[in-house]
């Protein structure tokens, strides 16, 4: 059978970094084909080559059996390929209809025929069951709505092959179900779907075939029905994967002193809307408290408020029993807080600064690194040498710029800095996002070690597997409120998913020992 799309021996390098190394992939028409791999395995690069955003250094592309040369996305679009990007490629101030018809605008004379554009969008959205308002401005849509617009953009241009890059990263489990229904419907009508994801459960649920990439090469290809999550994970990393971290039971009982407390916390987001609505939580010394939730439900604002980067509109925050609600981030560091931020490049590191300088970020006014406003270079350097060795940051050159490190090492650098503050409580927000498996294991082990040493850890993550394996207790945050408080032994991913989408309260989740906090 002729493939809908075929890639033969595609190689693409950026400077000395080879992102795709002779990758071959054949997608059957009328199927959903999953492409999986860790961060940096080359999935997105491969799809960008296919879509004409990048030019391959060598190899061939065939569409419907015919060779194709894509010099730009326009060529790919003309051959029936459509791409839905992970970070939506939409123009926020323009309307839905304008975004969808951009580049192919219906005309009337020299101007744009807006009425016809809106009509055509309404028609095509109805046909595929993707509900949108053509006149709405994209910046006012929900995440799910924006994704529908992205898909419609491809369908409007007659795409027969739809490529989706990590489409479910920001969706609730229920929105994911809706998306999968749309994909299955597309396939039933003769379309083909390529799904890039690292979520193996979704691969098992919706795909027909799966190709695994590792370090830029194809590690294996399987019929989905003939494989399983463990095998795929093994192919992704090349060895048996530790899916659960070994840890002893928490030393902390209910009687342990609280390392961090939040009482009735209310926080507003950047638009002035309440993102955190009366959250109360306690992290005891010697325990890891996990916070689950779909991104955008207040976790970011919660962490920022706890760290002092965002003011609390109401409520109190205490570290070690001491009120810190009015204190600045620096003062909270002094009070015993440490913070591993969600975005290391945006918040956690100053890229051009050296490793040594980054290691004192937050302590640049404190002894022994500074006295009376003057920096003490010898103290900074010796601290760097010790810390880089202890946390296995490579290369361990105190004078090198932080931006020259790999993602995993950068994250280890941030973790090194925060964990060597001698803090009482550690806020860890998505600490293993975008990091290779070796570094993930290292960071997990260090967090457990901190907890064993009597520190409190607040772990926010969108990776349920990570939360279930690390946390001693779990909270679920939905629309700014805590809707569930439980223990990992007493729940599972499906239950958590229900609470994460607001459908858990009121029902009795199977086997849950914890009770829902209204």
């Amino acid at each position: 059978m002729t493939s809908a799309v075929e890639l033969r021996a595609i190689t693409k390098a950026f400077g000395r970094r080879v992102a795709n190394d002779r990758v071959s992939l054949a997608v059957e028409p009328g199927s959903i084909h999953a492409l999986v791999g860790e961060n940096g395995a080359g999935k997105t690069t491969l799809m960008r080559v296919l879509f004409g955003l990048y030019q391959a250094d060598s190899g061939e592309i065939l569409v419907g059996g015919e060779p194709a040369r894509f010099r730009s996305p326009l060529d790919a679009l003309r051959r029936g390929l459509g791409m839905v990007h992970q970070h939506f490629m939409l123009v926020p101030p323009l309307t839905v209809a304008e975004n969808i018809t951009l580049g192919r605008e219906p005309r009337r004379g020299w101007g744009v025929d807006r009425a016809r554009a809106e009509r055509e969008v309404a028609e095509i959205s109805g046909r595929h069951g993707l509900r949108v308002d053509p006149r709405a401005r994209v910046e006012n849509l929900s995440v799910g709505g924006q994704q529908r617009v992205e898909i419609l953009k491809a369908l409007y241009r007659g795409a027969r092959v739809l490529i989706l890059d990590e489409p479910t990263a920001v969706l609730t489990p229920q929105e994911v179900d809706e998306l999968f229904a749309v994909l299955r419907s597309l396939v039933r009508h003769g379309g083909t779907v390529i799904l890039i994801t690292h979520k193996l459960r979704e691969v098992m649920e919706v795909s027909d075939r799966v190709t695994v990439l590792r370090h830029g090469r194809v590690a294996g290809e399987r019929r989905t029905a003939a494989t399983g999550v463990e095998e795929l994970a093994g192919l992704m990393v090349g060895r048996a994967v530790l899916l659960r971290v070994q840890k002893a039971a928490a030393a902390a009982g209910p009687a342990a002193p609280p390392a961090l407390e939040a009482r009735g916390l209310r926080v507003r987001d950047a638009r002035g809307l309440e993102a955190v609505r009366g959250v109360s939580l306690t992290v005891r010394a010697g325990e890891i408290l996990g916070v689950a939730g779909v991104e955008g439900n207040g976790q970011a604002e919660l962490i920022e408020a706890l760290a002092g980067l965002r003011p609390a509109a109401a409520g109190e925050i205490l570290i070690g029993g001491r009120a810190v609600t009015r204190l600045s981030p620096r003062e909270r560091f002094r009070a015993g807080l440490a913070h591993v931020p969600a975005d290391r490049l945006a918040r956690g590191l100053v890229g051009p600064y050296s490793l040594a300088d980054n290691l004192i970020l937050g302590s640049q006014r404190d002894a022994p690194y500074a006295r009376r406003g003057w920096l003490s270079r010898p103290a900074i350097r010796s601290h760097a040498e010790r810390t880089l060795a202890a946390y296995d940051v490579r290369p361990a050159a105190p004078g090198a710029a932080a931006r020259t490190l790999s993602g995993g090492n950068q994250q280890k650098l941030v973790v090194a800095r925060e964990l060597s503050r001698g803090a009482r409580v550690i806020l860890a927000a998505h600490p293993t996002r975008g990091v290779d498996l070796g570094a993930i294991e290292f960071i997990h082990r260090r967090l457990v070690a901190e907890r064993d040493a009597g520190r409190g850890v607040l772990l926010v993550s969108s990776d349920l597997g990570e939360l279930l394996s690390l946390a001693d207790r779990l909270l679920v945050l939905y629309e700014g409120r805590v809707v569930l408080e439980t223990a990992p032994e007493a729940t599972d991913e499906r239950t958590l998913g229900l609470y994460m989408s607001g459908q858990g309260a009121g029902g009795s989740p199977p086997g849950a020992a914890g009770s829902a906090t209204p």
């Binding site: 400077g15 000395r16 760290a307 980067l309 600045s328 981030p329 620096r330 560091f333 913070h339 931020p341 945006a346 918040r347 956690g348 590191l349 100053v350 890229g351 051009p352 600064y353 300088d357 970020l361 937050g362 640049q364 006014r365 500074a370 406003g373 003057w374 920096l375 020259t404």
Partner: protein
Amino acid sequence: MNPRAWVRPLVPPLLAVAVALLMGAAFIVAVGQDPRLVYGTMLAGVFGSAYGWGQVLFKATPLVFTGLAVAVGFRAGLFNIGAEGQAYISAFVMGWAGAALAPHVPGPLLLVLLLAVGMAAGAAYAAVPGLLKARFGAHEVINTIMLNFVATALVNYWGHSAFVRETVRTPGLPAAAMLPRLDALWPALRGSPVNASLLLAVLAGVAVGLLLWRTSFGYELRAAGLNPAAAEYGGVRVPGVWVRAMAISGALAGLVGANFVLGYKGYFESGFTAGVGFLGIAVALLGRTHPVGVAVAALFFGALSQGGLVINQLVPKELVEILQGIVILVAIVAHELVERWLRRRA
């Protein structure tokens, strides 16, 4: 040594100068002159005599101040296009205050006082766009450009009462309140107005270097410029840094008056800045926002300016301004190309 360590700072400025000189040669030919003759005369006139050197140093001094001012702003992530207006208005305040206080304050004390007043005026004027950015998020580029014009208008207005009748300058200061000329120490420099403000410029350069790399505030300032979100996370109050950085920048620009008012003429004269603030931007860029680079770039532009005067018989001296513009454009392009080349080798 790692090639990037010297490629990044040296190649763009050198390339810019080379291209500018080449294109300048084209203009020279266009007016029917021989480039080798013109450039040769320039070099001889500028570096061939102590007087020439003195002139170069005199012209370079204010460029060091404005170059440092813009450089400090850049390091904090701010684009201070207002050094011109800051220098202008603070020099006026120097001249005005000097004339007003001269009868009451003894000479040397007045000198020190006027230096402080100039720096304070510059700091205050530059703090305004800093505060507007800190409080309202208003971009400093437009505001500083606007304030340049406002400074001119304000000085014109105050000049009605401050200027000597029928002139556009403030009354002269007594000699005791002025900075000594350097030709008193080195007689060979006689005739050129280079004065002790040159030493102030050197001191300023050293001070800026220490501030940026040896103090906690400097660490915070550079972090705020490189990554405000990370700086904030590290406990830095970024809007406060903006205001303080602009104030420091303005104070440095405020020292321009020291060269002209306190070291040369003894009074403020309308129009004396003649673009020194804008040229300071070129100096800061060419000097890679580093005090040493700024010093070298200031010398270069000072030499160029003096060279223009020397060759004025052969070629319109405005050639120098053309060269300045070309240098700026090529410098920023070369910077981009070098960065891209380095990234590809990584």
